[in-house]
Subunit: 288 residues, 4 copies
């Protein structure tokens, strides 16, 4: 069993850390809002760390699941960040969705200290974290991935190494691009069905078995049809991810016309007050 | 066993008629290019009709699977069309993807003669027709649907009545709208993966199990990655369908920004010479 | 002075016919709603015709300014249309914005009867018609254009022959495409200025003198900033024109991504109740 | 006459500094590539500075015209930047197109030292700089603007204070948004004209006098029609500006669907090798 530091106990990190504890590992946890860390320890055991560095002391591996690039930089490279406190050979696995640039920068900074760094963004949302069925896309050295995989198996169901540092993040961007297109197509399909006066349940029954089918269609068409959006993966987070992706495309030269457009449409949903609603709320701007 | 007229023996209609013959029905077939009808009869039996009207004489049911609105009008309402030759109570089932307007017009014209008319566009492509696994979306009266369903079961796997006349066509439009979004999202995702230098097989393995997943992703990502497009549902046909859909939306007030955009992108693919290629060739304009 | 038939006395045709009468020509006018024709004659003289054919009897030239393709077909080729009543050598000039296809069809049908047909859509709006300062884009034979130009000069300021039959309509489509882009750019610029809290008068003063300048910016930015849209060229008409243009592009292979998108956005403005408002109301969907 | 430091002698800054020298001011110039500064001094007099700080010593005003946010930060706030060397009460005017965020940051940092800071991006391109006819959009205090305006008059024709710090940059973004829409509309219009086989000169003659008219139409349609793009404002710079604008909109909530799309289309032009061509080369992707 390993000594593990876990940084960031939000709706994703909290349950992930819980699965690690349940698997028998010893956890020292850090959260920016300390009360959350204390509540977590009260429920699941382990120790509260006052700083990311303290969470890393003596750890075989540190995991992070924070908000964005700046947060990740703060918990790793700042004075009280975990990098300085980790022993050579220790693993550092970041589960935040961030830019490939910072993932590569951490990989380099870690390598300089003998750390083994992986970028490992997840998909599957809060339900995936709670149920331990997350999809994890990893970037980093093959041996480091091999070392981290058994630990991640506590909460991951499909764990794939894409390639070198940053490539986990880039694969996550591919995931979000595919979702953006699926959801806008679904939104237009549903809005058309409603405008045409169709029975949306029958339409779903007819089209969800074939070439138009998608996870989103099967899972979200019924709730979209009813106008229910208070669950799932939030528009605000999707916009953050699309922003990262569009920035990366500016560098690598990929043309993303529909992602760029859908990103603006999500902006319109935010203005409608839907920032915390599920990404399927994209349909709202078509149903006004 | 029924006496059946079948009009239009193309890549879809040909195999559909074959399944009806194989189920024991007697077929009289019509095709604009007579040689095709003769070849079909040589292979599968039945009789060749010189006109759509002749195919309808004495028929319990007539099926059509032709090209577009004008073709459908010609084989039904023209002087030598099948409507005048059908006996009251006979079924007329159209499998062409056409406008809801003409579907409704045929339903009215048929009703005036005592015919029982269904619009019943299909999805599943040539493979679905060959294997008898088509999805069929129907519009028309419930009793007429009940009468036609056992016949359509010869080549249809999932057969759904959406609602009244024209609603089969409208559901097919919903299907194409969902596909347009899925495919553009997939195209952008794949183009991004390539621009980023990722191993596209690994990306597929990582993202095809979750929220980004779709039939198109599972079936088309590998061929898109290899640049193989000479199969499947042709861009020319998709543009026809999107054109019908955008026209209908102009009437019913649905806003279809991405469908309108993807329709133009398919135009760009046509200019690149891809009109006969699978709809997944949408990615070609991003990979130049 | 000429004997002139004028068909269609709406907000455009009414003032155009008035300018012809003021220039000394004898007019026989037809309007679908007869009361409008009677009111026009009461105000400006001339005779009321009971049918388009009657307006054409003995005419040197017939002008039309109606609604759309179907209306134009009705007043020309129907039994009581003007074509059958016109003497060989007479001019027929259509000022309606219609498809290039019907313009070419009328040119052919006219030629078969010895008529000299021009398609001559206008821009400049109601104000241009009232003030006699319309821009007129013509398609037809050079000699026919030369014969019609002095008559059109009564209400046209800039009258250009683009080329053969239908090319006046095609040039009008070019005009509307340019406007669609200008207006959406302007709408986004203004919406951005407001979101950023800028003084929109000062922004206009700063940017309207250079590379961003346009007739629309100079004329419409101030009213857009104030939310005034009850004047000018209506969204409903713009959508009709964009529809014709997108249909034509489907035939000629031009890719029109932003026109297709703006057409959908105009649909959203229609849903907001803005169908009768000026095209600059495109900004409304961004300011909600 | 004033003592002036000028930082950045590129295609814009070089001629601007020349106009200041011609107006009788004493200049000390800095350029990252020192040879450029030496060549400028050889041609126009003044002194070469080894660092931005040196250019600021004893200056009444320092002007900068560099590349992007990072460059501007380097020449102002770095150890050898000009801010530390400027005396209280001195003017600092930045002509670079940068983010509103850095403009505000410099205004704050400057205020803390008693400097009078303006953000003052320009439009009018290289020709405007050479001819001294630039449009200048300013953000900053009214009194500081009043002090700087007479100096900027050496190369500016239309100089407007929009409002407080950063608002010059925000107005420049409005300018670029309007241009993005105009140019895409123009590109679609021209591509349509070509696809329809029209005489593009006649189309321009017909439509450039009315509601579709714009500076870009009058200035760029002829060169677009001939496929000439090797002049003017480069696509690479336009993409930089659109990137800044889209980032700002992400903060202020403006929805910019067409700007986002055109930004991607400019990316496609860059892939075609057009990064250094005029922004009107947007039409190239439609004419393939």
């Amino acid at each position: 069993m390993a000594q593990i530091g876990f940084i960031g106990l939000g709706v994703m990190g909290g349950p992930m850390a819980r699965h690690l504890a349940a698997a028998g590992h010893s956890l020292t946890v850090f959260n920016r809002t300390r009360a959350k860390a204390e509540a977590w320890v009260a429920a699941h055991g382990g120790r509260v760390a006052a700083t990311p560095a303290e969470a890393a002391e003596g750890a075989d591996a540190v995991f992070s699941c924070v908000g964005a690039d700046a947060d990740l930089e703060a918990v790793t490279l700042a004075n009280d960040g975990c990098f300085a406190a980790l022993a050579p050979g220790a693993l550092f696995v970041d589960h935040t969705t961030v830019s490939a640039a910072i993932a590569r920068r951490l990989a380099e900074a870690g390598a300089a200290r003998g750390l083994r760094v992986l970028d490992a963004p997840v998909s599957g949302g809060q339900a995936g974290a709670e149920n331990g069925t997350l999809t994890i896309m990893c970037g980093g050295a093959e041996a480091d991935f091999a070392a981290a995989e058994p630990l991640m198996a506590a909460y991951g169901k499909l764990i794939t190494r894409i390639g070198g540092a940053g490539e986990g993040q880039l694969a996550k961007m591919c995931n979000q691009l595919a979702i953006a297109g699926v959801l806008q197509g679904l939104a237009e399909s549903l809005a058309f069905a409603k405008a045409a006066g169709l029975d949306t349940d029958k339409v779903l029954a007819a089209i969800s078995g074939g070439a138009a089918s998608s996870w989103q269609m099967v899972s979200r068409w019924p709730t979209m049809a009813k106008g229910e959006f208070d669950f799932g993966f939030a528009v605000d987070w999707m916009r953050k991810d699309l922003g990262l992706t569009l920035d990366e495309a500016r560098r690598n030269g990929a043309s993303l016309p529909v992602a760029a457009l859908v990103d603006q449409f999500y902006g319109e949903v935010q203005k409608m007050g839907g920032g915390r609603q599920d990404t399927s709320s994209l349909v709202r701007r078509l149903l006004k």
